[in-house]
């Protein structure tokens, strides 16, 4: 052994000084466009969202839908928004972004000027996006733009950054985006990397939020503020923010984007707009690709009878109040006519006749009784109605898809009893409201299997939203004619005649946002910034908006009568929906974790927490 050890020799020091084959050095990373692109891809993937990016569960926590999937998540139908609902405090991501910005400045010597500027701008866009997510959920947050590094002096106070004022964070976002937007122009051909128009779209949205908080917070009986301005924006700042939002929106509208109109069928067109990756509507998206990066939104939400896999389907059940928020094309309000003034049911000749002439976006968003998906019609029928003692008695079958034999009497035999797709008011994996979601549910082959999964993309920003942002900002600035034009343009795409709105109100704009942007992670924030969330989700069990209701179709079995074979509709509160949505004042700004306050005593609490 001793002899062998003597045989070692060491005359080449560089043997110890080789480049590692398993480590990437800073010089390599920050000078290689390929490595940098994959680093930035990681940051794009971490862009934050609350109810978006195919978050099936989050979409069932508001008034647009309820959870009808597996019972283990029935708490979504039986909860109240906690103090920490929507809490977001991802300074880990902020640090990663700051570190990248500093290292590009320090190490990226071999990149061209244009490349360096572009990566720098992309990362700053992502950082602005993250700060927007922080400010809309938490109010004014500490603005940290450099790495915070401890100097081991025993004094941590330099690391403790206090919260900025709420408007300062919005100003920071605007200023950042203004500075970088031209540097992003090289990406303009891409829809999945930050480009100039994505920056403008973020400006458009963020400035609109700041403006409406400035306006509507101060119209409350007691505005939600903190003494230091960490929460609450002065009312006199509203019009400047609205103007900034409108300017950004106008620049996007005049750019080469267009509302998606590739399908002549307006309803299918609205669905295709988000499902197909063609057209010029989407400004910035999170993309997916089969066998590479997929999601299971179609698996979660496919109509029960169209499943290609087992164990799950039908998770999101859209609510009746949401379906009724779609107007009729002739300008009537969208309330469905189920009963006459005398209290009798209205009999419809076809199961989908009650939805005839509705805003085409209803078809594009919701699968309702009598409609089709993937070329196959769905089988939604709650049961049969039998005339007895001068009124209809409603009977549902024990099995889904059961044909009516002689169970209810010989004379009623024949025909479908309860559809394969329900609805059932207390079962899982079948609609509890009588509606299924169509929007974002991919119709690609095998998209609803877990093996293949879906690859349709998530639009962070699209032109439809920009039109509504422009309409709202213009309306608030008193430019009513312009605002009406934007709204009408969008409604034409949905099948309405030209100039369908002549007397624009804020309520119309708000309803347009609900129907156009449903399930796109807008409603929670919209209601918050208009300061009406506590009025809409008032926690009252008798409120048709705070409680998710369903609409159950029944086939009339009444031999010899003129209504035999027609359909009546019953408004139902599903048994699985347990507690009305209740948004408290404390939910306008989520509580900051005690852990954060323990570490940084300069952090001021949010109101009511």
């Amino acid at each position: 052994m001793f002899a062998v050890s003597l045989l070692n020799s060491c005359n080449h020091d560089d043997w110890f000084d080789r480049e590692s084959k398993t480590l990437i050095t800073d010089q390599q990373l920050w000078n290689d466009p390929k490595l940098l692109t994959s680093l930035v891809a990681n940051y794009y993937d971490r862009l934050p969202t609350l109810h978006g990016v195919f978050n099936t569960g989050g979409m069932t926590e508001l008034d647009d839908a309820m959870w009808s999937g597996h019972r283990d998540q029935n708490w979504r139908n039986d909860f109240q928004f906690g103090d920490d609902y929507g809490r977001y405090w991802d300074y880990g991501l902020i640090r990663d972004l700051n570190l990248s910005l500093e290292n590009i400045a320090k190490f990226s010597t071999q990149l061209s000027d244009a490349q360096r500027k572009q990566y720098n701008a992309e990362i700053r866009f992502i950082r602005a996006f993250v700060y927007f997510e922080l400010v809309k959920r938490m109010g004014g947050v500490p603005i940290v733009t450099t790495q915070l590094i401890y100097d081991f002096s025993g004094d941590p106070t330099p690391l403790q950054v206090a919260r900025s004022k709420e408007h300062e964070v919005y100003d920071f976002i605007y200023q950042e985006l203004e500075e970088i937007k031209e540097d992003l122009a090289a990406n303009n051909a891409s829809k999945t990397r930050a480009n100039k128009y994505a920056a403008l779209a973020l400006e458009s949205r963020a400035m609109l939020y700041a403006a409406s908080i400035a306006k509507y917070n101060n119209l409350m009986a007691s505005p939600i503020t903190t003494a230091g301005g960490e929460v609450g924006i002065p009312a006199n700042m509203a019009s400047a923010y609205y103007s900034k939002s409108l300017a950004a929106s106008k620049e996007i509208i005049s750019a080469p984007f267009a509302l998606y109109t590739e399908n002549a069928d307006k309803g299918a067109n609205f669905y295709d707009m988000l499902n197909k990756k063609t057209g010029r509507e989407v400004i910035f998206a999170k993309d997916y690709a089969t066998s590479l990066k997929v999601h299971r939104f179609a698996y979660d939400n496919i109509v029960r009878s169209l499943t290609e896999d087992n164990e799950s389907s039908s998770t999101i059940s859209p609510s009746l109040s949401f379906v009724e928020s779609f107007d009729y094309l002739d300008g009537r309000k969208g309330t469905l006519h189920t009963k006459n003034t005398d209290g009798n049911y209205v009999a419809y000749p076809h199961i989908d006749a009650i939805f005839a002439n509705k805003d085409a976006r209803l078809y594009g968003t919701v699968i309702y009784p009598g409609s089709a998906f993937r070329g196959r019609s769905v089988s939604i029928q709650a049961g049969v109605a039998i005339w007895n003692n001068n009124k209809y008695q409603l009977h549902a079958a024990a099995q889904l898809g059961q044909q009516l034999k002689e169970e209810l009497g010989k004379e009623y035999a024949g025909g479908l009893w309860t559809g394969f797709d329900g609805p059932l008011y207390d079962a899982q994996d079948v609609s509890n409201t009588g509606f299924y979601i169509r929007k974002f549910v991919s119709d690609a082959p095998a998209a609803s299997t877990r093996g293949t999964s879906a690859a349709n993309w998530w639009p962070w920003f699209r032109l439809g939203e920009i039109y509504l942002n422009a309409a709202e900002a213009a309306f608030e600035l008193g430019q009513v004619a312009d605002a009406t034009g934007y709204v009408n343009k969008l409604r034409e795409r949905a099948g309405f005649p030209v100039n369908s709105v002549t007397n624009l109100t804020m309520d119309i704009i708000r309803n347009e946002r609900r129907v156009e942007l449903a399930f796109e992670d807008h409603r929670f924030y919209d209601l918050k910034r208009w300061r009406i969330a506590h009025l809409v989700w008032d926690g009252s069990e008798n409120d048709t908006n705070a409680v998710v209701y369903g609409l159950y179709p029944y086939r009339i079995a009444r031999p010899g009568h003129v209504d035999d074979g027609k359909f009546i509709f019953e408004r139902v509160r599903p048994a699985r929906f347990r507690r009305a949505r209740f948004f408290r004042m404390a939910n306008y700004y989520a509580s900051i974790s005690q852990d954060v306050i323990n570490k940084n005593p300069k952090i001021v609490r949010n109101p009511f927490h």
Partner: protein, 223 residues
């Protein structure tokens, strides 16, 4: 044999407990009521909360204290000094100094004074052939507060409030003058008419807060 005994030795190791990580459960109780001028303040079931804090530890975390709808509360605690905090978005005024020092030793009782925006005094309910009439007086306690709703709630369950009720009748605010008797008449709907009894409560809400001040629940026999 050797194998068996070594196996036994291994298994017996599993039964060894460490006494250092076993704390005794707290034995003291802090209980009390939310009161205004000695009278308990009713709240929504599962509604407003209190917070308990204790100093002297490096990291701070609060103990939530839930309120029963009659305004009573209880918490199991170790003996010591606690800070009790009355939070905002409650039917009472958020005090600038919202913290009360509480010395918990054994079972401690505490009446926690609050300043409601409005109160309701002298509630009484009469059942007649028309329905149920509630008589009461609305009092303004905080001068700057504005009245938003005065409501009569009827329900099948003892937990009856703004969230959970069978019938809600709004008082006409223009007819209400503070300190003067008012009444609300509720006509019983079909689903309540034939019951043996219903529960009744009156709530009052200011524009400032999202929560109501409630009277204590009353059971009204219908038969």
């Amino acid at each position: 044999m050797k194998l068996l005994s070594s196996l036994l030795a291994c298994i017996s190791l599993l039964f060894v407990g460490c006494e250092y990580d076993n704390y005794e459960a707290p034995k003291s109780t802090l209980s009390g009521r939310i009161v205004y001028e000695g009278a308990p303040v009713g709240v929504r079931n599962n509604g407003p909360q209190l917070e308990l804090w204790q100093d002297g530890f490096p990291l701070r975390s609060y103990i939530p204290v839930f309120l029963n709808q009659d305004g009573s509360f209880a918490a199991s605690l170790f003996d010591g000094t606690y800070k009790l905090v009355r939070k905002g978005d409650s039917p009472w005024l958020q005090q600038a100094a919202d913290t009360i020092l509480v010395q918990v030793k054994g079972n401690t009782h505490l009446d926690l004074p609050v300043m409601p925006y409005f109160t309701i005094s002298n509630p009484s309910f009469q059942q007649n052939d028309k329905g149920i009439t509630a008589n009461f007086t609305v009092n303004k306690i905080v001068n700057t507060a504005n009245l938003q709703f005065v409501r009569l709630y009827l329900g099948k369950s003892i937990l009856t409030d703004q969230g959970q009720q069978e019938l809600r009748v709004d008082a006409n605010l223009s007819l209400i003058s503070f300190g003067q008797p008012v009444s609300i008449l509720a006509t019983l709907p079909d689903n309540l008419k034939n019951l043996d009894y219903v529960f009744a409560r009156i709530g009052v809400k200011s524009t400032v807060s999202n929560e109501y001040y409630y009277t204590q629940i009353q059971k009204i026999a219908l038969k």
